[in-house]
């Protein structure tokens, strides 16, 4: 598959009172054209920050992208300034983001029609009347009834689910090449979440848009994503095809994550302990304290780099890589 986005060695740090937090630590991955990639991890795993880093949306200070490249269609996004014209042209036009809380992305004092048409006018330079018409079309496509009339409504006049539909419509306005959905449906009720996910899935498949789904919900990844990155403590610990990983996880954390989701008629196997702090971490594997497979050497060796065991499946588990003769 042709690579749309190719991230290499991305690292992002935050300065805090207690020290430097390595929120994203040497992350490399790619998204193919029209592919759906899941990024799973728990809070603090760096899954959201890595995406914000690509788009140069990490609040600075305290955050800073300290290393890495992110080639989007062959152009390194990280070489542009945060507020440069190039970056602004890419955000919303080539890459769109959908966040968990739509109210933070929508302007409460501006009606939906104006907000949507503004996107079209700035990015595509089309006339206001045309822009409004296209906005109404887009709203109709995401299942908002009476879309022409609703252009005059303000964000608070929409319900939570409807607002997220508006966000999807806005993200799709300029037919971007990549949509990053950052916990886009997490705050919604189960039945509404299902509506939205099906909608998002059908709309990106129809237009051939690549989608990065950042989520903590393994069920969402299992249903919609083709490939998945599992993140832990700022690093990608495993990546591969969703089905392969479920059939045979190659990192103890992935295995633990899968087994700790309650399933019908099965005993629950929890991962003991809690996620590590990201300040002043020793170079050893961050999962060491919670890992049931750890060996004596794990306490001495530095954490392994993400290493591919075949074309798509990679792990960063020292024990596993030694077993496979790759370390």
């Amino acid at each position: 598959m042709e690579k749309l986005l190719d991230v290499k060695g991305l690292s992002t740090e935050f300065r805090t009172e207690r020290g430097i937090v390595k929120a994203v630590n040497n992350v490399s991955y790619h998204v193919g054209k029209g592919e759906i990639l899941g990024i799973v991890g728990e809070s603090g795993s760096g899954k959201s920050v890595s995406q914000l880093s690509l788009m140069q949306l990490v609040p600075n200070p305290p955050g800073k992208v300290v290393a890495g490249t992110a080639a989007f269609d062959g152009v390194n996004l990280l070489k542009f300034g945060r507020k440069s014209r190039e970056m602004c042209a890419i955000r919303g036009r080539e890459v769109s983001m959908i966040f968990q809380e739509p109210m933070t992305s929508l302007n409460p004092a501006m009606n939906i029609g104006n907000q949507m048409s503004e996107v079209l006018m700035t990015h595509l330079g089309i006339e206001k009347a045309d822009a409004l018409e296209r906005s109404a079309d887009m709203l109709a496509q995401v299942g908002i009834a009476d879309s022409k009339k609703r252009l005059a409504d303000y964000p608070h006049q929409f319900s939570g689910g409807m607002r997220q539909r508006v966000m999807i419509a806005m993200a799709m306005l300029c037919t971007p090449k990549l949509i990053i959905a950052d916990e886009a449906t997490t705050a919604l009720d189960a039945t509404i979440q299902a509506q939205l996910l099906e909608l998002l899935y059908s709309i990106v498949s129809e237009h051939g848009v690549a989608l990065t789904m950042v989520t903590h919900n393994l069920g969402v990844v299992a249903r919609y994503a083709q490939r998945v990155n599992v993140m832990y403590a700022g690093r990608i610990v495993e990546t591969g095809m969703v089905k392969d990983i479920w059939a045979s996880p190659l990192h103890p954390y992935t295995e633990g994550l899968i087994s700790c989701v309650p399933k019908l008629d099965e005993k629950l196997e929890a991962i003991p302990g809690m996620p590590p702090t990201l300040i002043n971490r020793p170079p050893t594997c961050p999962f060491l304290a919670r890992c049931k497979y750890r060996q004596k050497s794990c306490f001495d060796d530095p954490a392994a780099e993400l290493t591919f065991v075949d074309d798509v499946h990679a792990t960063s588990c020292n024990v596993m890589l030694k077993e496979a003769g790759l370390l």
Partner: protein, 308 residues
């Protein structure tokens, strides 16, 4: 193929079985507070002023070069000199000594008025905030009515009724200032009440009085402390104002407001007689406001970094 590899093939070495990690490392709250508090240099200046004033007030007898009441008619309107650093007033008393002794009175009125108004205001605010809908409405509307009467009128009225002297003046100022606390505490209680730990206490069967004293009040305290600090300045201003219009302290007592007023007659020829005590008032108000500002910053959860 990936199928060859599997975690299932790995032997679990029980010697290195998992252990639970401990909680986050402890944080030195005091250090953190001090760091944020002194982040702005101007707060440091304010803090230094407050400390100096406190020292001056407490050790006035030792610090003041002369007796503040000692009249020396041979030395009236002396210019500042080595003997009288700020000169003397119309009846030859040492101006600096009077200002230093005035500090004591200013701080005393400040502390006692703040104490009186805070006690009344916090009590009513807590009752209103934790009481029913009717209690809330009644208290808040009465507070609105009270605030709508100009403070100076209430103060003058009470001042006239209670008579001159520190007791009457403190009560007059304290009573005028307490509605501000009611509003603040009321708002705070409404916020704190939303927290689940309050409902948890109710579900545990705790008495309402204990809930208010043990959970609600401590969690309302931070902004109250800020306002109390800021009100110190306000109380001293009010005291000065009352003294200035002649409702404050009796003449020989070294009160900054009275001194400013007395100096007014000679403003053209000896301006420092008014300006020096006036400057003392300004310094004190500034100092306490800055300290209040610093405390507010230090208690602001947004400044807590990774803590919350």
């Amino acid at each position: 193929m990936a199928k060859e590899y599997s975690l299932k093939n790995i032997k679990i070495d029980h010697e290195y079985d998992v252990h639970q990690e401990l909680a986050l490392p402890p944080v030195n709250e005091f250090k953190r507070f001090a760091k944020v508090f002194f982040r702005r240099p101007i707060v440091g200046v304010g803090f230094a002023i407050v400390v100096l004033l406190l020292i001056a007030g407490i050790f006035a007898d030792q610090i003041a070069p002369h007796d503040p009441y000692l009249i020396n008619l041979f030395n009236t309107f002396d210019a500042p000199s080595a003997r009288y650093p700020l000169g003397t007033d119309a009846i030859g008393r040492c101006l600096l000594s009077r200002i230093i002794h005035g500090t004591r009175l200013a701080l005393l009125t400040g502390v006692s008025t703040v104490f009186i108004s805070a006690t009344i205001g916090i009590t009513i605010g807590l009752v209103a905030g934790f009481g029913g809908r009717v209690a809330q409405e009644v208290v808040m509307r009465l507070t609105d009515a009270w605030i709508s009467i100009p403070a100076i009128i209430i103060m003058m009225l009470l001042g006239a009724v209670l008579g001159r002297g520190i007791g009457g003046m403190t009560i007059a100022i304290g009573v005028t200032m307490f509605p501000a606390y009611i509003r603040l505490v009321f708002g705070q209680v409404l916020t704190v009440k939303q927290n689940d730990y309050i409902m948890a206490s109710m579900a545990m069967g705790d008495s309402k009085v204990r809930i208010v004293l043990r959970h609600v009040l401590p969690n309302c305290l931070a902004p109250i402390i800020v306002v109390m600090t800021m009100m110190m300045g306000g109380a001293v201003m009010a005291e000065a104002g009352l003294s200035f219009i002649g409702l404050g302290m009796d003449p020989p007592t070294p009160a900054w407001g009275t001194m400013t007023n007395d100096g007014r007659q000679w403003l053209a020829s000896y301006p420092h007689l008014s300006l020096a005590p006036g400057a003392a008032i300004v310094l004190l108000v500034f100092g306490f406001n800055m300290v209040g500002d610093g405390i507010r910053d230090a208690l602001d959860p947004k400044m807590r970094g990774t803590l919350n």
